[in-house]
């Protein structure tokens, strides 16, 4: 099959796993979907392709807009979408970043084996659920005033280090060392800060979770050694974002951009793509506010990890240092970052929008922490509760193929409404218990909505990433305990 037709959109196969929507008169660049035929069938099943095509109408899109193997319909810009947009001649779009700025994931390693944890699962899941704030209105690890929020927005994880919630190694192993230097707390509104002050260190709800996992497979021994991963080891994965503060930043800047740049909005097929022209006041302000929200999200995950260390100390009666509970890496998902990439043989500064996609820089890049620079940046791909997750490394082809990006998860295939019709939370919990997975959530509905059956085949997503050389498989993990908001 050399072409694929879906709802009036024809894709041409460029090479194995690479499909292209050719550029037409409305598009500023072609669009590419990175998928096997099995995944493409799922991607074509909703409005993902139309949203991807729409995103190419943003001014300054370079090379092509890209849908990752886990892509699915979002709002405006597809989830799993990547666009490198010229930082001089293009634009920046809050909707193409998403409301949950720096929704992301971090993995913490331990020296515990699965055998060490067996028999403690119930206590562990109950204690994590009791001590890690989650759900709507569940508060945070730190509840403080706006001044503290402003420090967090400015300094990121450095703030956590000064306050005793982090150690140097946490910063060294976080993307950008846990601080975006372009952050501008003054560009974040009072309303956003008010929303953020009581949610610092909280999971939220929906698809966000904290999961204790065991490493089941190691595929690249040398890289796994560099990451501190080995078979049967216990690790902890934390998935959440910038909470109400980040949502408010996106909400407000979408409106401001709409009002200030109607001429640009008139060229776009979806109002959710509203964008500020590069070099405009609003582009600078939004970028500063978004970077500040990125810092907030990193602190959010840091505080949850700090609380997790304390829970493990109580359950296993050892210090977290003895259990070597060290941050492997923290990666952002919903961001736009100024990065320099090669475009048509020329180095260009781009706003690389990654909405539901992960930066995946290969070995040798200076942005990769020194500990991993020889092997490539860790990439963490959370899967469903019944399928496990993966650790990858940035692949050699990622810079050329995807502006240094890969997938971010399994990707949904089913609406939440349908999920609740098809699954019953308690049944899902019982089935998972049969697989020795202990799940605790604020409600059964949340468990049903996040049932393993609502997600794509994460194995296939990761296989395609590996085959394309944009993210190489390093290790696989499987859940032991999972808490949800």
């Amino acid at each position: 099959m050399d072409t694929y037709d879906a709802d009036g959109i024809t894709l041409e196969r460029v090479e194995e796993y690479v499909w292209e929507i050719p550029q037409d008169e409305e598009m500023n660049a072609p669009a590419r979907v990175l998928a096997s035929e099995e995944l493409l069938d799922q991607i074509a099943d909703d409005k993902t392709l139309q949203q991807l095509k729409n995103s190419t109408q943003l001014p300054g899109v370079r090379k092509y807009a890209i849908c990752m193997p886990d892509g699915h319909q979002g709002y405006g810009f597809p989830v799993g979408g990547v666009a490198g947009i010229d930082a001089e001649e293009g634009c920046i779009s809050p909707g193409a970043v998403g409301f949950d700025i720096n929704c992301g994931v971090r993995m913490m390693t331990t020296n515990l084996s699965y055998e060490d944890v067996q028999g403690h699962e119930e206590e562990l899941v109950e204690s994590l659920f009791a001590n890690v704030p989650s759900g709507l209105g569940g508060g945070g690890v730190v509840e403080s005033g706006v001044e503290t929020v402003e420090e967090i927005l400015d300094r990121g994880v450095e703030w956590a280090l000064n306050e005793g919630y982090a150690v140097d190694g946490d910063l060294a192993h976080c993307e950008d060392e846990g601080r975006r230097p372009d952050a501008d707390p003054a560009a974040v509104s009072q309303k956003a800060k008010d929303r953020g002050k009581n949610q610092i260190g909280s999971l939220g709800s929906g698809n966000h979770f904290l999961e204790v996992q065991r490493v089941t497979d190691v595929f690249r021994e040398g890289v796994a050694d560099s990451y501190g991963l080995s078979a049967d080891q216990i690790v902890v994965l934390i998935h959440c974002g910038s909470r109400g503060l980040g949502h408010q930043v996106c909400t407000e800047y979408t409106r401001e951009v709409e009002q200030a740049h109607p001429e640009l909005l008139d060229q776009l097929p979806d109002k959710e793509l509203a964008a500020a022209p590069a070099g405009s006041r609003l582009a600078e302000e939004y970028y500063g506010a978004m970077c500040a929200a990125i810092n907030y999200a990193w602190v959010n995950r840091q505080l949850i990890m700090h609380r997790t260390r304390q829970v493990f100390e109580r359950v296993f009666d050892r210090s977290w240092e003895e259990m070597e509970m060290n941050l492997l890496y923290d990666v952002a998902h919903n961001i736009a970052k100024k990065e320099v990439h090669e475009v048509d043989g020329e180095e260009r500064e781009l706003y690389v929008h990654r909405k539901g996609a992960t930066r995946a820089f290969p070995a040798g890049r200076e942005e990769v922490p020194s500990a991993y620079r020889d092997v490539g940046q860790p990439v963490i791909i959370p899967g469903s509760m019944g399928a496990g997750s993966y650790v990858l490394r940035g692949g050699e082809s990622s810079m050329e193929t995807t502006f240094g990006s890969t997938a971010h998860g399994a990707g949904r295939t089913m609406s939440r409404t349908q999920a609740k019709d098809e699954f019953w939370g308690e049944d899902v919990q019982d089935e998972l218990r049969g697989q020795k997975v202990y799940v605790k959530a604020q409600s059964g509905a949340t468990v049903a909505e996040e049932a393993p059956g609502v997600y794509k085949d994460v194995d296939e997503v990761v296989r395609v990433s590996d085959e394309l050389g944009i993210g190489d498989t390093v290790a696989r993990t499987f859940p032991v305990c999972n808490i949800k908001g």
């Binding site: 709002y75 405006g76 008010d194 909400t251 959710e272 949904r412 089913m414």
Partner: protein
Amino acid sequence: MSFELREHTADVAVAADGETLDATFGAVADGLAAAMCETIPDDGDRFSFAVQAENREALLYEYLADCIYQRDVRGVLPVENRAAVDRTGDGWRLDASARGVPLGTIDAREVKAVTYSEMRIEQDSDGWNAYVVFDV
């Protein structure tokens, strides 16, 4: 006035209608509450707020965004939403009230934000109808 939750791969959508714009906007806000909580208790006090915008779509966006903001800063789920929409000299104004159910008393899921994606506000012979996608 009525609303229903519509399927969406990743998020949730609300379709609502009413005889007037007031009723339709209130019904979308009730749909937003239903997207967060399936069983709503009778407690909580009413509170008021107001928003302004340059056109109808923007007004609906601002209204729903403020419902979400009020939820987080007051710690309540806004239910039984009432909206009064008026034209002003240079735009639109909405005066809203809602009963705020304390979040601590309910199991609620977080809706992150209102989106413009696929938003529709249309008038037909029966009144007004609206469609809004929310980020979950």
